[in-house]
């Protein structure tokens, strides 16, 4: 997770350049700036495409006529170890992105269902880690003292873990149960401190700012100050952190599935497809390339968007 300059967003609104519509302007300014960047436009298009693919996966299955679990023995050559028949991994009018070797399942439909799994896990984990990270980070940063001590030590403790190794161990030991839910849980346990740490730093510097002093002087209760005064000033940071968390969780989920401890077969998953494709790289490289490309594009698009958001927000704050 990338760090965000802790000065970010500190002095924006208190300076309050006078009431010329200060609330809607930043959002509009951010969007109009981002629109000018082709990389961002591309990224947003990719994200929209992937989300549509995930949402309309059943529709896609109906259109192509292939269920994600349905075998197609006619699309593979049983005499050659089960390689797809036809060029580029069996791409044809009935299988638009070819088929999986060994069973003939339609890759496009499995990719679409895999996107559902990936996005659902990544977005759920992001929501949970952001919520926990923001709340705990603000509490630690704003109140300091014992609360800060406890929360910071827990964060240090979790961040010191070699998290991937620990996730593998944890997922292997836990009973099979509901895998996606387990993945969200494990990702969240190890993910929230990264958000909380940044938020804590920002909350600390906001604690002594003038508008907080003013609120305090006017008799506002601490909890109200935290959520009414501090939180709105962290908006930009939170958006950036969340946008960057999504691709990191997608990547981690794919990695865990690749290693065989993530989503269990036959549930489609990109990481799993890539893992299966390893053995086939020489005879059927498309089986590796297609899920690989989807994974790359998704992670890339979210990362580019997140980076640009940060850049624009930073610039805006400095101005």
């Amino acid at each position: 997770m990338s760090t965000v300059p802790s000065e970010l967003a500190v002095e924006t609104e208190p300076k309050g350049v006078l009431p010329t519509g200060s609330a809607p302007t930043p959002a509009r300014r951010v969007i109009s700036t981002l629109r000018k960047s082709p990389a961002v436009v591309f990224s947003v298009c990719v994200i929209v495409f992937i989300v549509l693919l995930a949402v309309f996966a059943p529709v896609l299955a109906a259109i192509t006529g292939w269920d994600p679990y349905e075998f197609d023995p006619t699309a593979i050559d049983s005499d050659l170890g089960g390689v797809p028949i036809g060029p580029f991994g069996g791409i044809s009018s009935s299988h638009w992105l070819g088929v999986e070797p060994g069973n003939g399942r339609d890759i496009l439909v499995r990719i679409a269902y895999g996107a559902r799994v990936s996005l659902m896990i990544a977005v759920s984990a992001t929501l949970i880690t952001t919520t926990f990270g923001v709340v705990l980070g603000m509490v630690a940063g704003f109140f300091g003292g014992l609360a800060d001590q406890i929360i910071s030590r827990v964060m240090d403790f979790l961040m010191a873990f070699p998290s991937l190794i620990f996730m593998i161990a944890l997922l292997s030991a836990l009973p099979a149960g509901n895998r996606p839910a387990l993945l969200v849980l494990v990702l969240s346990i190890f993910g929230w401190p990264y958000t909380a740490r940044v938020i804590r730093g920002q909350a600390m510097s906001l604690r002594n700012s003038e508008f907080v002093e003013a609120a305090r002087a006017s008799g506002a209760r601490p909890v109200k100050i935290v959520f009414r005064e501090v939180l709105p000033n962290l908006r930009g940071t939170i958006i950036v952190l969340a946008t960057l968390a999504v691709p990191s969780y997608i990547g981690t989920e794919a990695g865990l599935s690749f290693l065989g401890v993530g989503v269990m077969p036959p549930t489609p998953s990109w990481g799993q497809m890539i893992s299966t494709a390893v053995g086939w790289y020489a005879v059927d490289p498309m089986f590796f390339l297609i899920p690989g490309t989807f994974l790359f594009l998704t992670v890339f698009a979210f990362t580019v968007l997140g980076d640009n958001l940060r850049r624009v927000l930073d610039a805006g704050d400095a101005a």
Partner: protein
Amino acid sequence: MKRRTAFLGLAIATSIALVGCTAADTGSGSTEGVGGEPVTGGTLQVLQNTDFSHLDPAQGFDGGVNNFYRLIYRTLTTQGVGEGAEGTEIVPDLATDTGTPNEDATVWTFTLKDDIFFEDGTPITSADVKFGVERSLDPSISIGSPYAKIVLYMPEDYQGFYISGPLDTIETPDEKTIVFHLNQPYADFAAVVGQAPFTPFPADDESVTTTSIDQQPIASGPYRVTEYQRGSTLVLERNEHWDASTDDVRKAYPDSFEWTFGLDGATIDERMIAGQGDDQNAIAGSVQAASIARIQTPEIQERTIQGLQGCTTYMPLNTTKPGMDDPLVRQAINLAVNKQAVKDGTGGSQLADIATTMMPPTVAGFTEFDLYPSEDFEGDPEAAKELLAEAGYPDGFEFTLDIRNNPKMQAQAEAIQQSLAQAGITVNFNLIDSATFYEVIGTTSQQHDAAITGWCPDWASGATFLPPLFEGTQIFEKGNSNVAQLNDPAVNERIAEIRAMTDVEEANAAWGALDEQIMELAPAVPLLFEKAVMVVGSNVAGAYAHAGFSGGIDYVSVGLASAE
């Protein structure tokens, strides 16, 4: 012990390297093997994924290690050489013939050949053979072939030489003669003394202990172990005291053998296909499904051999579970499974044939039948639904399948899940770690409704195939091989009857018929007879798939075409 056998089948399914392969005739392979007649000399390289289970013949018990034992050990009898039935025939080895039984086949006498020696030059006597058997019965090491324990007449509490002392029921009237007393008539005893635990060791309990052999084997065969690093390398060199004139089985062409363990399956395939440098002198186990398409070029086909592993991959259905206890449900599952899809997932027609019987075609007495036919073996969901409705499950049935956490078995399981779904049967997977898989399915309290597993016969007879899998008295709480937990009085009775037959031919035919009788009860779904497809180095000669060693290349017959 029986579980070990199961382990063997499974081990084969997974670790390519362990796989010895059997050559039943598969139609396409040449009977000569590849590369013509080998020359004497040179070093043969063997690339292998996993190390051998044990160097101690009392402990190792799978096709791969039994094949290896023939290089360093000799037994009274052994399997023949050659493809198909020639290879599984029992022939004399240390003994002059395959033994002389008394009238009811309960007492067997063997005479040893002359000029047989251990690697230090001391002659092998009947006392050494006796000691080898007694040693193998020690509870701490008797995890290998169980037949000595099953058929030898001995006190109930006999615990091997080190605990209970010598066994009186093995007599050695002189240095060349050994007499075994059995607890039952056993017409196939000549095959039993060919099992690895019957390997002789110097009758000296000071220097030969329960653990010493596993670390430093004492060779009686043509090679001795000169270097061994567990999990990485093993080197064999010639045993100068082995006399070729006493041995009709072993050709022992190369001067030395060198194993490299711990190689990834894909790496082995890559190296064998490339065939560069020392790999020209290398052999390996079966290739992976993904490599099949790459070995179709004429150049590689020339050095490809294939054969049946001689094992059956099957899905036992736990007959004690609710629902599964109804034969109609089990028959419905048999009808619905799309074996063609299972075969494709395993690697297609080159790596597997479809099984409709439990006994593989390499077993004597094999009788072909298909009680649950469907078009192109693709399953008959409609017929299955009718049976299910008849059994009281008109709305479908659900069960849990134990599978091993490896890609091939998962592909097989997905194919089964997909085909049963069409008959309204929901299959849930219980993924079990590879290391504990056989332990879990062999523990009656832990296994679920069904599993995917394999079985290889200990020698080519139904006696080593059907009873361990389907005899009621062989259900054990742990180490259970009767995973279906079938305990059918008629089957049990018939097994006892066939066992008592003294005519081997008649018994073989009866096992074939029993196979059909058992399949009428549908305690398992026979899935595949898997094959071994092996690419050998361009300088390798005399390689063929041996039917007695799960289709592995027969080590005692393979050599190099030119020794530099």
